[in-house]
Symmetry: C3
Subunit: 280 residues, 3 copies
């Protein structure tokens, strides 16, 4: 699953939801959680259901998701009952904290005949990060995002541009995603117009093993795609590296000097992964 | 519990202990562990007991603590028996490494009729950091500190000003503290006169979720209070942010652009936490 | 065990293996894994066995290791059966991921009468890092290395010079090594001629608690020895610090100001560890 970008929009804003495909994101999220005030949640469910159905029809290649409210919240049951429609890609569940909560989601989906929907897990609380591997272990959970703002709010810390305060949690979530075969999607950048910061943050996310970014503005989608797509220079170097490596292997040697670097299987594997990701 | 500063002084120095309140720290620690030589520990216990009683009487608002020696040490039992007095805030126990050791502390306190004393846990060894959540899980443990110097001594590493070598452990302890509802107090800065380094280190600690700093010199107390108290600028921005957010929520929207940043519930929560911490 | 450097060479290159001692590394690794192409593995085993026996005879002080292929691979059993010889220091096992795999290694060694060989565990996959403590817990495992290139290949991330993408895993492996009494050896630097980068990377490794570095070029050995040997300046400062500390302790004080820094037991312990490491 390719999720270089996952663009969010408020579930109570029909006109914004309809425009989501314009920036050509890999996935979209019709949000019933943080972006919708408590008083507007009930009405938003029908708006989301209608918009999701329309996006599913009109944009077959688009991974349409709905973010429901957290499992323990008063809204979760009705969100699942009203806002989800068959045939969309999946449901995004925020602030997941245990395998039990995931089981509750799976039951709720199955009871509604939505057994084909995948789950994207939000790991964005102290408990969610600490139990990440258990949360992601269910086969229905195919993607996960790390929510830096919520995580730091939960810890009572402070977000910084450099992000050292989330390096531990962000790394741990990426590792848990890999252990469970889950696609990891990286934290939001809340600065709406700071392109440099977004790109820098995405580069770090990619280095950690993330496959894409949560986007909260259409302009971020193109930046995310660029950051999570290997550059021509990278692809070119990977091809040259593999050619040199494969030639050497055929000649009986699997450790070579390539442009000043020692190359053996791990670096060849990194190069193959890079080329594969470009072919997706 | 407000613990922006926890000022240590050697338990065998009566005159220094008496002066502890002068810099107006949130908490003080009369130390029987690292600051007292083995030969002086026996005598120091009575000095500490007397000083603790006096500080308790003379400074009702001050959180008076005594740091005993580690549970497995030859001194622990007598430290509890002689140096602790009723009515102080709590006991600081260094180098805790397991829930069993915490149970030993609780038993020892209860046997002495000191059931009202809270425990502040020192996490400062490889095992202490690795078992942090288990150590902090006991309800009597209300605070925890991360001891960077001891941790790195235990690992055989090297301390640096930037502190990348402790970022993992420091982050992990802050997370464990949050998971267990414990107040996290950040590492010592051993450079006595380097104000810039102290402030920079405190800023990182606060970003990670710590609530205060261990202080080993009276001058550090004021720096710690500044670092762990929201600035007027921060408070002002938080108030403006919440006003804009609340206005938008009333109008039916919970995701707004505020001064170039996308603001929704997580950032509103960070702002509320900030304002709450200023009211404490 | 002193392992400031562990120099690797391809197991199918007899002439390179013979020259391994020239740069005077603490340990050498005759590699059957990444450096040897699949087609050459069978032949390489005999080459390695002969070279290992010769190195053992000719260089009694040298810690001679053979790296076999990973336990689940088709090559592991024959590697143990053919390439290992009695009397060498140990076997390096790459990509270990569980205590079960370690038990398989121990059984295979014992079945071959190689019960005196120690195990050096490669932790270089998502699972290996996540289960590091369990892998290292067997008493036969006396050393561990963190393989950054393989780890990041496994996560699908990107390696950078600064290395923030591996700080979590690298820190976690160092901690697991300390918890299990294992000597930790730090990641490879693949840039063959970049001395500055090697030294900088080794300095970070040492700060985290690593005792030495994997080397993939003879020139790196001297750099590693320098990085993992305390400098005269460090030793001098440690001696002065301990002298001042011990004098103060004798006089009844165990917390002193030393050259602008507060020194008590943790810093004294760091100084003692430093002096001990120089005496090895």
């Amino acid at each position: 699953m390719r999720l270089r970008s996952l663009l969010f929009a408020p579930g109570n804003r029909a006109e914004v939801l309809a425009k989501l495909p314009r920036s050509e994101p890999d996935g979209v999220v019709l949000d019933l959680e943080d972006a919708v005030p408590a008083e507007a949640k009930a009405d938003a469910r029908a708006v989301v259901a209608a918009a999701a159905a329309e996006l599913r029809e009109g944009h077959p290649g688009l991974a349409v998701h709905v973010r429901v409210n957290a499992v323990p919240s008063e809204w979760f049951a009705d969100d699942v009952a009203v806002a989800l429609v068959p045939g969309i890609a999946g449901v995004v569940v925020p602030k997941l904290e245990s395998a039990e909560q995931v089981a509750t989601v799976v039951e709720a989906l199955d009871a509604r005949g939505l057994g084909d929907l995948t789950i994207a897990a939000g790991l964005e609380t102290a408990a969610g990060v600490a139990r990440a591997e258990a949360v992601l272990d269910d086969e229905r959970v195919v993607a996960a995002y790390f929510g830096a703002e919520d995580y730091i709010a939960d810890l009572g810390g402070v977000r910084t541009a450099a992000g050292a305060e989330v390096l531990y949690a962000r790394s741990r979530v990426a590792l848990a995603a890999r252990l469970t075969g889950t696609v990891a999607v990286d934290q939001v950048v809340t600065d709406l117009s700071d392109e440099d910061r977004f790109r820098a943050d995405a580069t770090v996310g990619r280095s950690l093993g993330y496959r894409g970014k949560l986007c909260i503005h259409p302009a971020q989608v193109a930046w995310a795609h660029e950051a999570f797509t290997p550059s021509d220079e990278e692809l070119d170097r990977a091809r040259r590296l593999l050619e040199a490596y494969d030639t050497a292997v055929t000649a009986g040697s699997a450790a070579i000097a390539f442009e000043g670097q020692m190359v053996d299987e791990p670096l060849a594997r990194q190069a193959r992964t890079l080329l594969d990701s470009a072919d997706e």
